[in-house]
């Protein structure tokens, strides 16, 4: 079983991110359970979305406290909240931030954290700072859980026409970005 926790603000597309990730796993024949946890249920309020995935149907309904992977869609949440809480010893975190824009948090020896300028990538391709697909591309490169093709298939399922095209581009750039810094 793998567990992924997404930190974001309501309105930033974390639920879409979780469902894209879930769908990519689903297409591989896995059994995802993707679900949100709302805070104040208002745009801008910190919230979580989660993906728990296994080779058999997932029955556990609790939130995720010890994730294998973290996606931090909005790094400003890290100021007042320990997003790294419970991250597995060999866990991987993808943080939406430009290199140098924030201090990389102290992490354990086997943990990895990648800063990915997902908003910039999204602005370039999508025209709005919705870095979710760039983050997911980075996730694929950093964790090797999924191929870029798996992610693209999920994006194609979710988006049509122009949105599909630009999100696939953003995903690829996120993927390539992590590949280039992790070589």
């Amino acid at each position: 079983m793998k567990e992924i926790r997404i930190h974001a603000r309501a309105g930033q597309g974390a639920i879409t991110t979780a469902s894209l990730l879930g769908y990519a796993y689903f297409l591989k024949g896995m059994y995802p359970y993707a679900f949100p946890s709302f805070g104040a249920a208002r745009m801008g309020a910190p919230m979580n979305a989660f993906v728990r995935v296994d080779s058999k149907p997932v029955r556990l309904r609790s939130q995720i406290y010890e994730p294998n992977y973290l996606l931090i869609v909005d790094h400003t949440i890290m100021r007042g909240f320990n997003c790294f809480s419970g991250l597995q010893e060999d866990g991987v975190a993808i943080i939406n931030a430009k290199e140098g824009a924030i201090e990389v948090p102290k992490i354990k020896a086997k943990q990895k954290a990648y800063l990915v300028p997902a908003n910039e990538i999204a602005l370039k391709h999508i025209g709005r700072p919705l870095g979710n697909t760039a983050m997911l591309g980075a996730f694929c490169a950093a964790t090797k859980e999924l191929n870029l093709e798996d992610l693209n298939a999920a994006i194609k399922h979710r988006f049509d026409l122009k949105l599909q095209e630009v999100n696939i581009k953003a995903a690829k750039e996120g993927f390539d970005y992590v590949r280039s810094i992790s070589m």
Partner: protein, 393 residues
């Protein structure tokens, strides 16, 4: 076909396949994506139904009362405060013997305001005369709607059915679901032929004033029908499994019960978490199990008796309160054994997961741990005692 679907969208899809002629709903909070999706489905011409957008849940319930009274299969959905606003009409729907089918996203009740999941809304409506099913996962939620239409519209039953699915956990969660085809659904669920309906050419009165000469018998008959439903549900689920290949008995489900010494009784999505904990503890040689209640109404007392009579220690999980009294499900489970030859040594009662408080593996393990000791009465799990010290003075 296997799909990855959000619970609400899966329910909307199965409702589409059941082909209701009228859907009515109040479209804003506390509502789910179910009716949002159904509105889209109707607008796109994928379902030939009238979608009636109304100004309150009271009106939504009244609309489907009227449409089923006219002989048309109907559907509505609500949650929480919305369910309470419907309450007056819901008792009428049951009393008038109208098989409305409704999904309820089970959620907490104000005050304080809380939109998250527990069972206070639906459990409070247990005496309304509606049949009440509780789903563990999205697949079961989908399947229970098919069973609900089949059961409610059976000429021997003619009762409304509420399918309860845990708010957010199932309504907003995505899971792999095996969606049936239209062909399969049609095979299992015939079109609705009302044995009585409002019709200007054959006038009929439904729900009139009934004086003390007759009222008791009308209520007695309603209660008798619930007993008949208890007998019919397992027959319908046998037919269900023939068509769809999934097995339920529709009343209860035992998990690792055979040699169990400690068993948790629960309803809804928490049963999944309990099953995971049962597997974990079984690996350590602990003889634990789960009894899931699918049908809260009718209450399958004799099935519960048979399932639990030889279990030494039983814990009942309530996700609702009957303020000032025993926790509601626990009280009923205990009532099953009064005056019967066999019973568990202890039946402990636990309150957990109110207003969206997360129920973790640890919460469940704590309940199993507490079962080794003395009988517990309405013990709150994951309570924060430090918050109880706060005062407005």
């Amino acid at each position: 076909m296997k799909e990855l679907l959000e619970g609400s969208l899966a329910v909307a899809e199965i409702v589409r396949l059941c082909k209701p002629g009228v859907i009515s709903a109040y479209p804003i909070t506390p509502q789910t994506h179910i009716v949002e999706e159904l509105a889209q489905i109707v607008a796109n011409g994928k379902l030939n139904a009238q979608f009636v957008n109304v100004e309150s849940e009271h009106s939504a319930a009244s609309t489907v009362l009227g449409s089923v009274a006219c002989g048309v299969r109907s559907y509505t959905a609500t949650s929480s405060q919305g369910l309470f606003l419907m309450a007056e009409v819901l008792y009428n729907i049951a009393g008038m013997r109208l098989p409305v089918i409704m999904t309820t996203a089970a959620r907490a009740i104000s005050a304080p305001i809380n939109i998250w999941n527990d069972h206070q809304d639906v459990v409070s409506l247990r005496d309304s005369g509606w049949i009440q099913f509780h789903a563990e996962d999205i697949q079961e939620a989908v399947d229970l709607h098919l069973i609900a239409y089949r059961l409610g519209e059976d000429k021997s039953i003619m009762l409304p059915v509420m399918v309860c699915i845990d708010g957010f956990i199932l309504t907003h969660g995505l899971e792999t679901v095996n969606m049936p085809s239209q062909e399969e659904v049609d095979k299992f669920l015939p079109s609705y032929k009302a044995p009585y309906k409002l019709d200007v050419t054959n006038p009929l009165t439904l729900g009139p004033l009934v004086d003390p000469e007759f009222y008791t018998e009308a209520r007695f008959a309603l209660n008798e029908t619930h007993k008949e439903a208890l007998a019919l549900i397992p027959k319908i689920t046998v037919e269900f499994s023939k068509v769809f290949g999934r097995n339920y008995n529709g009343l209860i489900e035992g998990y690792q019960m055979k040699d169990a010494e400690r068993v948790i009784v629960a309803m809804g999505s928490v049963c999944g978490t309990v099953k995971d904990v049962v597997d974990e503890l079984r690996k350590k040689g602990k003889k634990v199990g789960l009894l899931k209640i699918t049908s809260l109404r009718p209450f399958p007392a004799s099935y519960i008796y048979e399932a639990l009579k030889n279990i030494p220690k039983v814990a009942v999980i309530d996700r609702a309160l009957s303020l000032g009294s025993f926790a509601p499900l626990a009280a009923e489970i205990k009532a099953v054994f009064f005056g019967r030859p066999k019973m568990p040594k202890t039946i402990s009662s636990f309150v957990v997961g109110l207003g969206g408080r997360d129920i973790t593996r640890e919460s469940i393990k704590e309940i199993f741990r507490l079962l080794t000791g003395k009988e517990k009465q309405g013990e709150f799990i994951d309570l924060k005692p430090e918050l109880l010290k706060e005062s407005y003075e």
